[in-house]
């Protein structure tokens, strides 16, 4: 029962390690290094890396920018709530505002084009969960996160809020069209 007794060999650090154990340690270490460098490799050669472009902002300042963007680029409105559908200029900036409990506006994108989408929250923390693509990004109030996105397929996409934000959390559903 020596795991519950003091080591019998006073100088246990000098005991030799069995070959099999060394082999396992070597394999595990190699695997650890592969996983570590895989993340770095993907930063250099991968196409899916979360943007590090972020700014401190305020809900008011962000809302003002988003309103200006919506006013300039709205193509139509949808649903009973008249949610604006906004065509993001190719290669340009789009704004997506998270608030209790909606994503606004509806964005219209084109397949294969790259957009800079600015994300921020007006109130609580929210979660940008693009479905069925399944990309998930945390959205915080006071932070403007600029994420470059390139849609790969056309279709209608949902933005589920996947950070708990109160009683209406489950009604917080947004939309992105990709043509």
């Amino acid at each position: 029962m020596s795991a519950i007794l003091p080591p019998a060999d006073r100088l246990w650090w000098k005991q030799s390690i069995d070959k099999t154990e060394w082999m396992w340690i070597f394999l595990a270490f190699t695997w650890a290094m592969i996983m570590f460098f895989m993340m770095i490799y993907w930063h250099i050669n991968g196409k899916q890396n979360l943007s590090n472009e972020v700014y401190k902002t305020t809900p008011e300042a962000f809302a003002a920018k988003a309103e200006k963007f919506i006013a300039a680029n709205t193509v139509r409105t949808e649903t009973e709530q008249n949610i604006p559908v906004v065509k993001v200029p190719e290669g340009g900036d789009g704004y997506l505002v998270a608030s209790l409990w909606k994503w606004s506006p509806i964005l219209e994108l084109e397949k294969g084009k790259t957009y800079k989408i600015h994300l921020s929250s007006m109130d609580y923390q929210h979660g940008f969960s693009l479905q069925p693509v399944n990309i998930n990004i945390q959205v915080l109030p006071g932070y403007e996160h600029v994420v470059k996105m390139t849609p790969t397929q056309s279709g209608t996409y949902a933005i589920v809020c996947n950070e708990y934000c109160g009683i209406g959390h489950h009604t917080m559903l947004g939309r992105i069209y990709v043509k």
């Binding site: 700014y55 902002t57 932070y143 403007e144």
Partner: protein, 47 residues
């Protein structure tokens, strides 16, 4: 007798419980917390 031999350095470190406590608090505080705070405060203001 074995106890006349010098205890290896690494074993002395592992037997020094309060040194381990200090390392276990300082390493994550520096790498995680302090570096994290530096990251957050160095975010620029939005234009």
């Amino acid at each position: 007798m074995a106890d006349k031999e010098e205890v290896p350095l690494m074993q002395r470190i592992l037997d020094n419980h309060f040194l381990l406590l200090a390392l276990g608090v300082v390493v994550p505080t520096v790498l995680y917390t302090l570096w994290g705070i530096i990251d957050i405060v160095s975010i620029p203001l939005a234009k």
